[in-house]
């Protein structure tokens, strides 16, 4: 059982939907970023998705691209992201942290070394956008062996024939990408998402969380109502990018969490 599994067990018992918040590690700087991260559980965030900055984020829209660029310009590195996680863990032993990013920084560090460092720091799961099931031997299988969850993206183009392959080595939860597109795109519609979530749930017992195109508390509520929870990323990152004070960012996050929890 990982922290992620524990969290979903608790949410199920409480009959509540999950709220997952994404933030870019080190945006706009490491101190501010850590302060925001520490405030997330108090704002109602059940799972933290922490972005690992990368120069070439091919699945991300401008909002998250710019956040990554700000972090890198500020000197953010993999080592500093891990340092942030360790600092967070000093005051929070239960909130799951999922590291989300692209494969090259991980490959560059070396998979074995990365998994050891990430596990030691207190990371619970990984979402690596450019590793489809066809490349499972690269990181997915070693990560599972190291006791870490490997969370896979399922998308509108993942048809029934392909879905079993996507679900096979997935653990923790399934992240359903509500649209074909990049992060921060047009709003997802609950009516379109509901049958897709049902289609995935027919083939797995894992919780299904929906992300991409969710920007407001109302959307978070309506999407969460047809799934096991909702993810918001770009809308939060946008506020950080606009230089909003930490308290204001966290108040916005709390409104999203409230929406998702009502779903």
């Amino acid at each position: 059982m990982t922290r992620i599994d524990d969290t979903f067990a608790r949410l199920r018992a409480e009959k509540r939907k999950a709220f997952v918040a994404y933030m870019m590690g080190g945006d706009p700087d490491m101190a501010t970023s850590l302060e925001i991260m520490k405030g997330l559980p108090g704002a109602g965030v059940d799972i933290i998705e922490l972005g690992l900055p990368f120069t070439d984020p091919m699945a991300d829209g401008p909002t998250i691209q710019l956040a990554g660029q700000r972090a890198l310009d500020g000197g953010m590195t993999m080592a500093k992201v891990l340092e942030m996680v360790r600092a967070f863990r000093e005051g929070d032993a239960t909130t799951p942290i999922v590291l989300m990013g692209y494969y090259n920084p991980i490959y560059s560090r070396g998979v074995e070394r990365f998994l050891k460092d990430a596990t030691d720091a207190g990371i619970d799961g990984l979402i690596v956008v450019d590793l489809p099931p066809e490349e499972d031997s690269e990181l997915c299988l070693p990560a599972q062996a190291a006791g870490m969850n490997f969370i896979r993206l399922a998308t509108p183009t993942t048809d029934d024939k392909r879905l079993p392959a996507v679900l096979t080595n997935t653990s923790g939860f399934v992240y359903y990408v509500s649209i074909t597109g990049i992060t921060g795109s047009a709003a997802a519609q609950a009516g379109d998402v509901a049958p897709e979530v049902a289609r995935i749930k027919a083939q797995t017992d894992l919780p299904v969380i929906v992300g991409f195109g969710i920007n407001t508390p109302e959307q978070a509520q309506s999407i969460a109502s047809v799934a096991d929870g909702a993810v918001v990323g770009s809308a939060i990152v946008k506020q950080i990018g606009e230089g909003k004070p930490v308290a204001e960012v966290l108040a916005f996050v709390a409104s999203l969490a409230e929406g998702a929890h009502k779903g």
């Binding site: 900055p53 990368f54 120069t55 070439d56 984020p57 091919m58 699945a59 829209g61 401008p62 691209q65 890198l72 590195t77 993999m78 080592a79 692209y102 494969y103 090259n104 920084p105 991980i106 490959y107 560059s108 560090r109 956008v129 450019d130 590793l131 489809p132 099931p133 066809e134 490349e135 896979r152 993206l153 399922a154 998308t155 509108p156 183009t157 993942t158 048809d159 392909r162 996507v166 990408v177 074909t180 597109g181 990049i182 795109s185």
Partner: protein, 410 residues
């Protein structure tokens, strides 16, 4: 497996799209079903005589193939050693080798029923080729081009627009080829159902590196019979040389000769201001290390944390921090040798070719010429070198003028 097949360098990639450890399919799940469909379509087309009949017809009547294999007599005399032939890919319609591959991919797109074509371009040659073939077949064409390149390759931007393409300047990152490829991938993931991504080089997720190579291999196949025609039956080149950015013109020349052990194969990377730790070059093999970007594992220019570096080259077409995965493999196993040439050396070769042969070469191809200028004099007269003259240099005259401190008024 018979011994000669086991020793073949031409059987790759394997079923996972790998050449040794290089290649693969490192893309997001949204694209994966489409990539598998593309692979299936290509595997089918590859063995379909009607597909190749259509290609042959277009190559001959639309592109003007075969491109000549030309004995560069004065260049040979001036360098005073090896006998130099130029494979005249610059004489193709649109002025470069790029159209060989574009035709193949657009025929595939038509078979798959895709009506919206996207492409990335650096120097603009691949963009022009894609816009050209889309115009011919009445397909919608969108070309992503780094804002920096839009500026330094203005004539090609205008050409693409004349041909009916929409050119989207890419401002993310530093606005060069790498960033154009990122934005093309973002477009593809958004419009995956009706869009075909026409990649311009032997990189990207499997099956692109193999597919683009197969379409470009016409260069090497023609070279083989053309040289026999001029030098006698069975005569192979002793050395073949091509410039390498992503590496499609080089792979096209090299691949048909991989199993001819007597043929020396040399790829020439862009050394920019020199291959050292300032990283002001685009020599992925001589100055980078393996990593994963744009769908494949290959040698990349990157920092110690795995962040991708921009590099630099005088030539927009070589300004890319990666290289096709098959080149990475050929480099590691030692079947091909990779060297680098600086901006200054390429500029000298550019002028040398103009002066001795009356041919204005692309700055990309000038890198290959520059390396031959270094080695030809020390080789015996019976040693035959074939250089892939991959593109013509009209597009580069403004850049060259600037570097030669000549002010051009238009």
């Amino acid at each position: 497996m018979p011994d000669d097949l086991m020793n073949s360098y031409m059987t790759g990639p394997d079923e996972t799209g790998r050449f040794g450890i290089f290649g693969g399919r490192f893309v997001s799940e949204t694209l994966m079903p489409l990539i598998l469909e593309l692979e299936a379509q290509y595997e089918h087309a590859k063995t379909d005589p009607s597909f190749w009949a259509e290609m042959d017809d277009l190559w001959k009547n639309y592109v003007g193939r075969p491109s000549p294999l030309y004995f560069a007599e004065r260049m040979t005399e001036e360098l005073g050693g090896a006998k130099i032939y130029l494979k005249r890919e610059e004489l193709n319609h649109t002025g470069a080798h790029k159209i060989n591959n574009v035709l193949g991919q657009i025929l595939l797109a038509r078979r798959m029923g895709k009506e919206r074509i996207i492409a990335e371009t650096g120097a603009g040659q691949h963009g022009v080729a894609t816009a050209t073939v889309c115009a011919k077949f009445g397909l919608k064409c969108i070309v992503y081009m780094g804002a920096t390149d839009v500026e330094r390759q203005a004539p090609n931007v205008f050409r693409m627009k004349l041909l009916g393409a929409e050119v989207i300047p890419v401002t993310s990152g530093r606005g060069t080829l790498k960033d154009a490829m990122n934005d093309a991938l973002r477009d593809w993931v958004t419009n995956v159902r009706d869009t075909f991504y026409c990649i311009g080089t032997v990189a990207g997720p499997h099956p692109y590196p193999a597919m683009v190579r197969d379409f470009q291999a016409i260069i090497g196949k023609e070279t083989r019979w053309q040289l026999e025609e001029q030098e006698g039956e069975g005569r192979l080149p002793d050395t073949i040389v091509a410039a390498v950015g992503g590496g499609s013109n080089a792979m096209g020349l090299f691949h048909p000769f991989l199993d001819d052990k007597s043929v020396n194969i040399i790829g020439v990377e862009a050394g920019g201001h020199g291959v050292d730790d300032r990283m002001e070059h685009c020599a992925s093999l001589t100055g980078g290390r393996p990593g994963v970007l744009h769908g494949n594992r290959t040698y990349l220019l990157q920092d110690e944390d795995g962040q991708i570096l921009e590099g630099h080259s005088i030539s927009a077409g070589l300004d890319y921090p990666g290289i096709g995965p098959e080149h990475s493999w050929l480099h590691d196993i030692g079947r091909a040798k990779y060297v680098s040439i600086t901006d200054t050396e390429a500029l000298e070769a550019f002028q040398f070719c103009c002066r001795t042969e009356g041919i204005i070469p692309a700055l990309e191809s000038s890198h290959a010429l520059a390396h031959v200028m270094k080695i030809a004099g020390d080789l015996p007269k019976e040693h035959i070198i074939v250089i892939n003259l991959s593109g013509r240099g009209d597009k580069d005259i403004f850049t060259v003028a600037k570097h030669l401190n000549v002010e051009m008024k238009i």
